[in-house]
């Protein structure tokens, strides 16, 4: 295997391998592209579209919560029979909530976030000409695309989309007579998720392989930008946990369609009678689901944390504080995230002893999270902060991460969860820590790497405005929800006005909805700014943020293979900002300094596959990655 560990001297010369360029047609360039930069843009645009849909849904169902007794005629023209007389049908309300959650979690913040930035940055920041397998990479996107189409198509079936919550717990989701959405809608939901998992696995294998195998000369693991570490560990989490969801989903499909009883037992359904299913356990599904579900929240969050590390370091003009501690924290979070899933199940009737164990490990996770927060603060301290829109969003992320993370300490405590489970407190918690924080990470990434993706700059003023509006809206929407939950308001309720006790929250519900719409309007600013700048934004310079990392060494023009000539060598870590021995306040990784060795010596893992994937078979690269896993330390 030519990609095994090799002496770095041997791989200096490969530029001539890229002399030939294929003729590109519109289809190979924009649609079935195998270029990681194009795939990244495809992910981003799809993610943005899905994000708009997901947010739109939340705005619609928030209307119902704020004004349960008003009618909104425009709803009827929009949704037809699902909003007769301008009032949302309760089944459809549940469908909107479900698809909103599904879209946000999987389509926007898993595929849209990881897919975009892993694809863009892994090759560029590691110094590779493309992904290990560009073809698999393309497949990954198209599976995602197909999955999105299947999911959205469920809005056009007669019984409506899946509506048993984004967790689709059986038996509710397994029995089409239990609620309309559990019919064809759930079948489509499950199909969409299966396609999604295929996409996530194809992407994840690629990311891992590329990071392990295809780093350029000098790019040892401990010189990787934290973005790459985050994407790498995210991919590992996905690779290990998504198959379990696939298993859970397949068993659910069997239960739904082939008469098995993995999750079903002792059921007598209205209008049907006693079912034949016996001996299964609905709680089994919950174990399987949350075995993915918990790592999933870190799959969502870690890329955002990685991005903000990079953005904060660059714009504070300071090395990220405690680079090693940051990596150790990420590793700790990744490992622990596999053994805490039971904190979603404290009151399912599972053995209380298990609850105790899950409580212990869950609260341990708070430690690496706290370390990360303190390190961010220390990075800002005595910095020289440039408030680019990306930086604003990164700071916003830290704030939201703190606010949402702290409430995790309540929910991870089995005793406290007895009361808090499935209340609005939970909604507040996960929207802050996972929803808003990760969305902010995504925005930070978009503003920061927009010049890299489109060669133009986004408008800063609109960017700042977008940030402040979104930030204010996020807190106004989600902060009061804590108090509702603590006062005993349950989540997934279509309407609160039937229960007199909840009457006191009506005006808060109005405030939340208005703030949510304000946030929605703010996103229009972003949409406008984004699409306008793609075509008309001012042309960017090659390194607009005066950043250290490799992606800014390629020049503006996107070419297959990324670098015109040789891939640059890396001489130092990614965060050497404001070094006292330098006049400039940055020191690119690829710039050779005085007194530094000509080449980085020692064994580095380098795989120089050619950009079109011809030189190395994907399989070779893939398998050799395992060899490197064990050689990690040496790098």
């Amino acid at each position: 295997m030519s990609t095994a560990t090799i002496d770095s001297h041997a791989v200096g010369h490969h530029g001539d391998a890229h002399g030939h360029h294929h003729k590109e047609t519109f289809i190979t360039k924009y649609i079935f592209s195998t270029d990681h930069k194009m795939i990244s843009k495809q992910y981003l645009i799809t993610g943005i579209i899905m994000g708009c849909l997901g947010m739109g849904m939340s705005l619609l169902f928030r209307l119902q919560l704020a004004w349960p007794d008003e009618t909104f005629p425009f709803l009827e023209s929009l949704l037809g029979k699902w909003a007769k007389g301008g009032k949302l049908d309760p089944n459809y309300y549940m469908a909107l909530v479900t698809i909103h959650g599904t879209i946000m979690v999987f389509y926007v913040l898993t595929a849209g976030l990881s897919g975009t930035f892993s694809n863009l940055l892994i090759p560029l920041q590691c110094g590779a000409r493309d992904m290990a397998s560009p073809f698999m990479n393309m497949l990954s996107y198209w599976f995602f695309f197909l999955s999105s189409v299947v999911l959205m198509s469920s809005f056009f079936v007669e019984t409506g989309p899946a509506s048993s919550g984004w967790t689709v717990y059986p038996p509710l989701s397994a029995l089409s007579k239990a609620m309309p959405g559990s019919g064809v809608g759930t079948t489509l939901w499950l199909m969409a998720i299966v396609l999604f998992i295929v996409s996530a696995l194809l992407g994840g294998i690629n990311y891992i392989t590329t990071v392990l195998n295809m780093r350029t000369k000098g790019m040892s693991m401990n010189r990787l930008p934290l973005t790459i570490w985050a994407f790498f560990l995210t991919a590992v989490l996905g690779l290990l946990s998504f198959p379990v969801l696939l298993g859970a989903g397949l068993l659910l499909i069997f239960d739904r369609s082939f008469g098995t009883s993995f999750y079903l037992s002792d059921i007598h359904l209205n209008g049907v009678g006693a079912l034949t299913n016996s001996g299964g356990s609905p709680v089994l599904y919950q174990h399987l689901f949350w075995f993915l579900g918990h790592p999933e929240v870190y799959i969502i969050l870690m890329p955002a944390l990685g991005i903000s590390s990079e953005v904060i370091s660059t714009n504070a003009r300071k090395p990220i504080f405690g680079y090693t501690a940051m990596i150790i924290s990420l590793l700790g979070i990744s490992f622990l995230s596999f053994i805490v899933w039971g904190h979603h199940m404290f009151i399912t009737g599972m053995n209380p002893f298990l609850g105790t164990m899950f409580m212990y490990v869950t609260l341990i996770i708070a430690v690496p999270s706290a370390v990360k927060t303190f390190n961010y603060l220390a990075t800002l301290w005595k910095g020289n902060i440039r408030f680019t829109p990306a930086m604003l969003f990164a700071i916003g992320l830290v704030s939201l991460f703190i606010s949402g993370g702290l409430t995790g300490i309540y929910l991870g405590n089995a005793a406290l969860d007895i009361q808090l489970h499935d209340s609005y407190f939970v909604v507040a918690h996960f929207h802050l820590v996972m929803g808003s924080a990760s969305i902010f990470g995504m925005f930070a990434g978009i503003y920061h790497w927009f010049p890299k993706m489109y060669g133009r700059m986004m408008n800063k003023t609109l960017g700042s405005l977008h940030f402040w509006l979104t930030f204010i809206s996020a807190y106004l929407v989600f902060f009061p929800m804590h108090f509702m939950g603590l006062a005993g308001v349950p989540r997934r309720y279509y309407q609160f006005s039937l229960i007199p006790e909840f009457g006191i929250w009506m005006d808060v519900n109005v405030l939340i909805t208005v703030a949510a719409w304000l946030g929605g309007v703010a996103q229009l600013l972003f949409i406008y700014n984004f699409f306008y700048s793609i075509f008309k934004g001012p042309v960017a310079s090659t390194n607009p943020w005066e950043s250290n990392t490799l992606e800014w060494s390629t020049g503006l023009k996107h070419i297959h293979g990324n670098w015109e000539g040789d891939i640059p060598t890396v001489y130092r870590g990614p965060h050497e900002y404001s070094r006292p021995d330098r006049e400039l306040d940055y020191f690119p990784q690829y710039e050779k300094g005085n007194g530094e060795p000509e080449h980085y010596h020692g064994p580095v893992t380098v795989a120089d596959t050619s950009y079109d994937g011809k030189k190395e078979k994907a399989s070779t690269v893939f398998f050799s990655s395992f060899a490197h896993l064990f050689a990690l330390k040496r790098a």
Binding site: A274, Y376, Y410, L486
Partner: protein, 510 residues
């Protein structure tokens, strides 16, 4: 004027319009009207036992004030945004002139960070004070709730301290260290001692929290072990969309109940021989009916549907036409046949399973006991103050969750898996009314999404003296016996050891 400025202005205008619209909108839904509007609205999914939205409660001056304050906040936010938009634009102009764009924008953002810090903290404190009053804390109606509340308070205090410190540092650093061309950031990559300290401190704090949490958790979930002695056991039965309570009758024992026995007259599926026999006959009749339908599916059944369709067509009843057409299609494409065959299979299986119990001597004897004959089925849950109560949960169909917020109690209700929750109520409904207002009632809410009426699935819980509970029980139905006259009904109870042995037996609840 440059275009961005114009755009911003337009945007600001749009905001004002939206805001005005929103204000008008909410003015028209002055909360006090809601009740009447709501009652008039036709809602087929709402159960019969409706509780009207109470107008008296909606209109208190405090509430009106709270509402005003909310709106003031909103107006303030929007004004702030407009100012910000302008400030940022001015910076753009000066940038044009001076070429120092970063610095100017930076300054604006830096000040907004400071402003956000101050207003944000003010807002958070406002929330703590105003909405903090509304949360359930230190007013628990159960014994373990006191321990719960103290656990909660400790967590609240610790996390609030961390919250204020870290957010303060974040924003104040952003304010203090914003970009200055003449300054260079401090090159400071790590400090092992510092990092060890701030790994260690959270670790210690969390250890304290987790140990206390463990204590609290144990005292709640192993309540039976903690409190020896009599436990009153009540079965709480959940179904789409409601709750029923089952109390033991005179014998003090809850009889066996099983989903297989559920019928129109036996909603909870009690093991009552006469009911089960009737069910067997009914099932056999239904099977025969289904078989007959299958035989005539393509002849009389289809003809009948065609005739119905023609009739509907005659009066131009498009809605019925559509649904009849669907049925016709189902007959033609075989869906109806599949459905019928499936239904027959299901019923045969049910019969088989019932017979398996009836034909097994041992099972028969242990299932069809007199205990189920005198069980009481109620639409409310009445429990006695200061007695230890266990709710045994059973679901008829899908997962529900029984949440009693005032008692700090919650447990999922899972089909095929018995669950339970034990607690000691310490405050009667009458006492609670004194505290929370005359309209106050305890409720058990469903807190696991279970379908279309999930939001309206609750049952009233009444805490009173043991004597009152006993008196109330006498007025409740025992569907399968004539109520013995004047016979005293003892409290429903069993002892704890019996309980735990029994949880393994899925169907039997004594």
């Amino acid at each position: 004027m440059n275009t961005i400025f114009k755009k911003t202005l337009k945007f600001a205008l749009a905001l004002v319009v939206i805001f005005t619209a929103a204000t008008l909108l909410t003015d028209s839904v002055d909360i006090s009207d809601v009740s009447t509007v709501h009652l008039k609205a036709e809602k087929p999914w709402v159960g019969a036992d409706e509780y009207a939205y109470d107008p008296g409660q909606a209109d208190t001056p405090e509430k009106a004030l709270a509402s005003k304050i909310n709106w003031t906040i909103l107006i303030f936010v929007i004004l702030m945004i407009l100012v910000l938009a302008n400030a940022l634009d001015i910076s753009k102009y000066t940038a044009k002139i001076t070429g120092r764009e970063t610095v100017n924008q930076n300054n604006v953002n830096k000040w907004v960070f400071l402003l956000f810090l101050i207003l944000g903290f003010a807002g958070v404190i406002w929330e703590y004070i105003n909405h903090g009053k509304l949360i359930l804390l230190n007013d628990s109606s159960s014994e373990h709730g006191v321990a719960y509340d103290s656990m909660f308070s400790i967590t609240l205090i610790l996390t609030s301290i961390v919250f204020f410190i870290t957010q303060f540092l974040l924003f104040i650093f952003s304010f203090l260290y914003s970009y200055d061309k003449n300054r260079k950031a401090l090159y400071y990559a790590h400090n092992n001692r510092l990092e060890i300290i701030w790994t260690f401190i959270p670790a210690v704090v969390l250890t304290i929290l987790v140990l206390r949490g463990h204590q609290t958790w144990k005292s709640v979930v192993y309540a039976e072990e903690y409190h020896k002695g009599k436990i009153n056991t009540i079965e709480v039965f959940a179904y789409q969309f409601g709750w029923k309570a089952r109390y033991a009758g005179q014998d003090g024992m809850l009889g066996v109940a099983d989903y297989k026995f559920i019928s129109g007259t036996n909603e909870l599926g009690l093991a009552v021989k006469s009911e089960v026999d009737a069910l067997l006959i009914e099932l056999k009749e239904q099977i025969a009916d289904d078989q007959k339908t299958i035989k005539n599916l393509n002849t009389t059944v289809l003809d009948g549907l065609m005739a119905d369709y023609a009739a509907a067509d005659g009066v131009k009843d498009y809605k019925s036409m559509e649904s009849i057409q669907k049925e016709i299609d189902a007959v033609k494409n075989g869906d109806r046949l599949d459905e019928l065959e499936e239904s027959i299979e299901r019923k045969q299986k049910q019969i088989e399973r019932i017979l398996a119990i009836q034909n097994d001597k041992k099972l028969f004897v242990s299932t069809f006991t007199p205990a189920s004959m005198d069980d009481i089925i109620a639409q409310e849950i009445h429990i006695a103050k200061d007695s230890l109560v266990t709710f045994n949960f059973r679901s008829k169909d899908i997962i529900h969750s029984a949440w009693l917020p005032h008692f700090r109690a919650q447990m999922n209700v899972v089909p095929g898996m018995p669950t339970k929750f034990t607690f000691r109520p310490t405050k009667t409904t009458a006492e609670a009314k004194k505290e929370f207002g005359p309209e106050f009632e305890y409720y058990l809410y469903c807190n696991k999404i279970c379908g279309v009426s999930h939001f309206n699935m609750k049952i009233k819980v009444v805490v009173e003296s043991q004597a009152e509970v006993d008196a109330w029980l006498k007025t409740q139905q025992t569907p399968f016996t004539k109520k013995p006259e004047a016979a005293p009904i003892p409290a429903i109870m069993s002892d704890s050891t019996q309980m735990t042995n029994d949880t393994l037996k899925r169907v039997a609840l004594r």
